[in-house]
Amino acid sequence: MLHLQQRRSRLSVRLGTGAALTALLAGCSGAGGGSASGDKDSINVLMVNNPQMVQLQKLTAANFTKETGIEVHFTVLPENDVRDKITQDFSNQAGQYDVATISNFEVPFYAKNGWLHPLDEYTAKDKAFDQKDILKPLQESLTAQDGKLYAEPFYGESSFLMYRKDVFAEKNLKMPAKPTWQQVADLAAKADGAKSGMKGICLRGLPGWGEVIAPLTTVVNTMGGTWFDKDWNARLDSPEFKKAVQFYVDLVKKHGEAGAPQSGYAECLNNMTQGKTAMWYDATAGAGSLEAAGSPVRGKVGYVAAPVEKTDTSGWLYTWAWGMQKASKKTDSAWKFISWASGKDYENLVGKKVGWPDVPAGKRASTYSNKDYLKDASAFASVTQQAIAGANPRDPGTQPRPTVGIQFVDIPEFTDLGTKVSQEISSAIAGRQSVSDALKASQALAEKVGKEQK
């Protein structure tokens, strides 16, 4: 037995070494679609590995390349790696990638650094693309300080409140079309325990600037708080900010999911699907999963606007969009690709070939007048459209802001600041420290960042 194991382990060591060497050598030859060589009809695209992008990759050769003769070499990476690789390639203006997926978080400072190619001249010429059809808030969030457009959205999302219609009917609870946070808190208390093991509401508590900070910041905005005032003074110690965080933490503690400090988007989606929570405030993209074929809660979920207090709307705004590298030598081919991927025809292609819920939606007004799409997505389509249309990234709160952004502050330093603050908040949700202590530590971090901006 042992002999055999030793032999086997020796063999596995050999195999492992061989594999490692192979990987090393492969790594040396450089990842990605090779360097930008001179041939006119191929472009390199670097994108995030979300399902919609993977779908696009599958459909490219048989459709886009067939129509235009332009070959597309894709490099697909997870979100963290993709951001880093894009930053490396674009900051050196190496020109290895002609097009990359960037979000509305990156566009402003990428554009400011001169890494992106403005797209206005192309949208003016390309009538079929129909730039006016793009939802206004998205276009605004992809427009930099100089007023030029730097990216085209592939899909957009906002946030809204999802709730179990059947559970609410059973308990005689009524969900208003535009609830306030106070109403949501009262409903959460009543719906808590409606079924065995069902909690009132699921809210993210997992550390991360893209996890707990996103929904929390929308609550802060609508309750009159802000991370920074217009002169970059950190305002995390203001009464409004404190009230919002206290409200969020109390709600999660009292009627939220168990294990909140480790629950992010994926965990809450899981809770909602498994019937462990009566409400869920999160990304509009969640609806697609809840209504997907085979989901146990399909057809049982109602959708209403993101809860508010002092503002009219409070939904966030996020989009994955195509940006063109400034150093790209194949701008015309690159635009053709962007125009196809973000175009109306592509949405129809996905709808017919794959299924309407899989359409990269939330970016064009025409999507929401498309009968085929509405047939499959009627439950959440109009609420999603209103949420995105109502988002105002330049003025999301009750006071003027120093920069754009609803659920984030649009500066490079925010990824780090947000993550560090999120760990303090998460710790408060876990009951390991008070909200005041969490915010005191966070304020100190934010002050440092604010000073650099002044």
Binding site: M1, D84, W209, G259, Q274, P412
Partner: protein, 327 residues
Amino acid sequence: MSTSVSTPEVSPAGAPADAAAPRKARKGPGRARVWATRAPLLPALIFLIAVTQLPFVATVVISFFDWNSLSPDSRSFNAFANYGEVFSDPSLRDSVFTTVWLTAGVVIVSVVLGLLLALLLDRAFIGRGFVRTLLITPFLLVPVSAALMWKHLLYNPEYGLLNGGWAWFTGLFGVDTPAQPDWISDMPLAAVAAALIWQWTPFMMLILLAGLQSRSAEQMEAARLDGANAWQMFCYLTLPHLRRYLELGVLLGSIYIVQNFDAVFTITAGGLGTANLPYTIYQTFYQAHEYGLASAAGVVVVIGTIVVATFALRVVSSLFSEEANRA
């Protein structure tokens, strides 16, 4: 982690004796022969230096720059400012303590558990091979999947096995509302440590089992004839014999667990005071995009590890020489 590479003082096996003698008489051809034996090893050495030392040198160089990848135009040399920040940054300081606690806790508990299991497995019983295989399994699991399993299948307060098992158990006694603790939030560091202990106990067990099986049977027999009881035999014979193996287990375990990233990343995402050094450096690099600061932190960790490892290795190597003297 980097390792220091030193060129061998003596030429490869077989050469020293005849290489030293002719060196005085015929300098040229002798040296040529020495190099002829060394030459085939050179590509390997150069390759090793290229893939281990050059990146480290690059890291050291970068650590003297103020370099945030998102503002490429303001890259500048700032001497030791990054190092100053590393030592004054409270979150980095906390992560040093977290790393020490996590490593020490996991190593000590897994050594104790591993010793108990090894003592059990040292006895002959039916199905021993099967039990041994089962006990080794956790160590063969991919770290990130082990962490995921602990987070969701075991700790989860809603559908985790720990709370589910407890509810079933108390249900036997007619309790309707059993305590359902939220394990990770209530004791985050212990939760991360438990997952790591589960993975590393088998490793310690294997090393100690090898040690137990190399005890001399005559000695044990003699002790038994002299009337020593089991406890005395364990204290005066087994433990001293196992000392080398225990130290080896502690050393190797520490080296691996100091670097652990998966468990912290997966179970708590660095929240609730569980961020250890590797996680903090990852955050500095990937989320703050502070290449200079992350490199400086990395260099400090390497230096710290080298210092600790040198002492640890000295302890172990003194043992080896002890063994040699005894022989």
